[in-house]
Symmetry: C2
Subunit: 497 residues, 2 copies
């Protein structure tokens, strides 16, 4: 029997630690695994983009461009892959096209191979320029479908969106399931639909594992023809993260499909991260599996955000009302997928609606969403709510691509960066400051202090374990102390009374 | 589209806590969930047998028969299900047939509906009498295939075994995957093979989740025609336990299959056990997912047993040698599935072989296994090793059913029990003492003190959380120490200044 080869994208170096412990993994905790990752036979290694850039400069005092160059040097045989939020790049606003082009060029130049380009609203116009820039560099442009569920989202719609991405020059299509909502049957249907409609286009499937069902979804996607699936090595898997790489490999044994990954190397990669993960335990959530999102349609992170907003207002008991309000706000906004930043925007407005009356007060971001400044959603926006947004924000609704409103800004961004202490004169630094103007100045000023590791040391972990075991909680055996008291020094022996 | 209904067996009340925290859950932590479990629409509720009986009398000072009667009373609409180790009942030796019959009768009388009968070696002769006894009571007799992997274990062999179980009167066949070794393709092939060969016989599939692949195996088993699958509510799932019930339900949406479980009740059951599980955290292993067993063929529990045996001999560094020895011992023994008790017997012998030379010293249990006293395995036993066993144990090999060697023993067991302090005169007590003669006397003597809960209280958990948060790391309340100083001893009280 001839088996079809299924590619695997390893997520340990990016989305896995982003999802499991808030993107806090220091580069020094990754370098020793790179040779095995490089040689294990992955289709690609996701290692940059998403929140890693932000986390590097905000928490780790690490130059993200240097991180990219290090990965390039340590993994010469691999396709390096990044997640890129279209016209937002890695930041939280729309950038003018020349900035998008510059970022893509510099990323490619520093070693990036595969650009997974997405937009939170699935608005193709927000992805087009980044896709074009990637194609121009000769690197791999991957167009992305953000998967969500709503009365308007259909298999046919997703297949149509795939066509639009292909028209932009996508060399592959990613089906991105950030909330672990993709069940086996729609996974099968969407992949099959794209293959049947557009021929043998490469399809990559990315699922989180939060709901516990998505390894099955990967199986059905593979049966439908998916070419590459995303997983994380087992010691960096599950919970709000992803399905375990080794489980995927074993799952396919005896089927018509195979991964050809090197199990010995996978074992070493696993053992490496098994020692790293406990260092970041304090950043981990306790969630093992959570299927609530299927009924609530509210991702876990969004729910905890809303809960803390309510508590801050002394209204922690009103979460049920807010959960009932979210679907209304989502519908009024034209059914955006709930993913950063739309999840925060919709969630915060739902909280406001419950606390102050529906749309009595609108956040600036929600008004922008209603007025088209984030792009188009699949559904029509509620005209009455658009009118309220117009009045409150004193802005007119737009129908054009949001970035079309922006003036060329590269020169200004260069000027801004040039004024900063510690700016190194590179275009990379200009881009860093452009995307994180609130954080980059401090990072530049302190960059020469070198990377910080916010994980715990082995000694701290051992001490905590001892406390958990109760053994460090009390004096058990005689301990000798030197005690200075009244100007004199004595040796004192202490033991349990 | 008409969907086929798939039944579900809920494991929260038995195998889930047995696998996750050493069968320690007290009855009082289960009763409040019973009404929802009873009404959620499960095919059956596994709640007794396995190690629950042992744990009840050894750790929880709880009468297991009373537990069964309580479940019966609290779940009047449900099929109650138990796991029964054939001729071993719930103990660790073979019992004479009249004891097997008595146990089955008493279990049925106290409320049991479905008897899942298995044998560690898959020897049908060790299951036949228990099956016959169940059929005689009019209750549901489920014959079990223990799934394992070896050069001799084939799909055809498992299908043949199913036929032998049906010939014994099995009303359904359980495919039991205690080590999470069952991959999707063999799951499909075995279920399909049984259905194709024997027509529409009911097939129940039981998988652990240790390796992370078995929810996919359940999906393929369902596609092949499986009628009932075993899961545990999500807050009692994963790791060495089982796949989450809610994930199974959601997984099937949009497919040709449905469970019809009541999601509202599942949510309440989940919430109940989400508060219970942390109480037993100290009994939990940290394993989230482990695919090592696919290459080592050694279940996780067996591996840690061997490691602690080696450490006790000051040979903790020789685990690799033992892991290489296990397949040799397993082959010599005729490829027994590695499950209690064969996993311990094979594992301990492998340790002995490494430490003292191959078969230089044989455990009594391993000699018995080699001489046929546990029954027959699928493969031929190595005649040279049988000969060594014969000499060392000074016993002849047998080919008959082991229980055929036993004299009628019920009257003796009655006499034994009657002598015990606290014996209540019931046949149930006779059976309890028959199965656990080393534990039952103490339990009878202390039974009237009532059940013990070995889980932590809410207060203890809060205190531990505070320690983990670092806040209890300092002296909070006065602590008294004995201090030796200048040759004199004083009692000193220390408290926050």
């Amino acid at each position: 029997m001839s088996q079809r080869h299924v590619g695997v994208t390893e997520l340990a170096l990016r989305d896995a630690h982003q999802s499991l412990f808030a993107t806090r993994m220091a580069m020094e905790d990754m370098v020793d695994a790179c040779e095995d990752i490089d040689r294990a036979g992955y289709w690609s290694v996701e290692c940059w983009g998403g929140a890693t850039f932000d986390s590097c400069i905000r928490f780790l005092n690490e130059d993200p461009w240097e991180r990219l160059r290090t990965f390039r040097r340590l993994m010469p045989h691999s396709r390096l892959q990044m997640l890129l939020r279209g016209q937002n790049l890695l930041g939280y606003r729309h950038y003018e096209d020349s900035v998008v082009e510059k970022f893509v060029d510099k990323s490619a130049e520093n070693g990036m191979d595969v650009f997974r380009v997405f937009d939170a609203l699935n608005d193709p116009r927000n992805m087009a320029r980044a896709m074009k820039a990637v194609v121009a560099t000769g690197k791999h442009a991957q167009g992305t479908i953000c998967y969500t569920i709503s009365p308007l989202h259909t298999v046919e719609g997703y297949v149509r969106l795939a066509g639009q991405l292909l028209d932009m020059g996508a060399q592959s299509i990613a089906l991105k399931d950030m909330a672990a909502l993709l069940k086996p049957q729609p996974a099968y249907d969407i992949v099959k639909g794209i293959k049947d409609t557009y021929g043998d286009v490469q399809i990559n499937v990315h699922c989180h594992s939060t709901t516990g069902v998505t390894l099955v979804s990967l199986m059905k996607a593979i049966e439908a023809g998916a070419d590459v699936v995303d997983t994380a090595i087992s010691s960096m898997s599950l919970g709000p993260g992803h399905n375990p790489t080794e489980s995927l490999v074993e799952m396919l044994e005896g089927t018509d499909y195979t991964t050809d990954l090197d199990m010995e190397r996978l074992t070493r990669i696993r053992d490496h991260f098994a020692t790293v993960r406990p260092k970041y335990r304090e950043f981990e959530s306790a969630t093992l599996v959570d299927t609530d999102i299927f009924s609530s349609q509210i991702p876990g992170g969004m729910l905890s955000n809303m809960e803390s907003q309510l508590r801050a207002q002394g209204a922690g008991d009103r979460i049920r009302e807010v959960m009932t309000e979210v679907p209304i706000v989502k519908k009024d906004a034209g059914y955006p997928p709930l993913v950063t930043p739309s999840s925060q925007i919709v969630g915060t407005q739902a909280v406001f609606n419950v606390l102050m009356g529906r749309y009595k007060v609108m956040t600036g971001e929600f008004a922008d969403l209603m007025l088209g400044y984030y792009g188009e959603c699949i559904g029509e926006r509620n005209p009455e709510v658009v009118e309220i947004a117009r009045k409150q924000a004193k802005k007119e609704p737009i129908t054009e691509r949001p970035a079309d409103l922006l003036e060329p800004e590269w020169e200004k961004l260069e000027d801004d960066a040039a004024k900063l202490e510690g700016f190194n004169g590179s275009e990379e630094d200009v881009l860093t400051n452009a995307m994180f103007p609130g954080v980059a100045p401090k990072f530049f000023a302190h960059r020469n202090e070198g990377p910080k590791n916010v994980g715990k040391t082995a000694e701290q972990l051992a001490h905590e374990q001892a406390i958990a075991d109760g053994s460090a909680n009390a004096v058990r055996a005689p301990i000798r102390y030197t005690v200075s008291f009244g100007g004199q020094t004595h040796t004192v022996q202490v033991e349990p009374a």
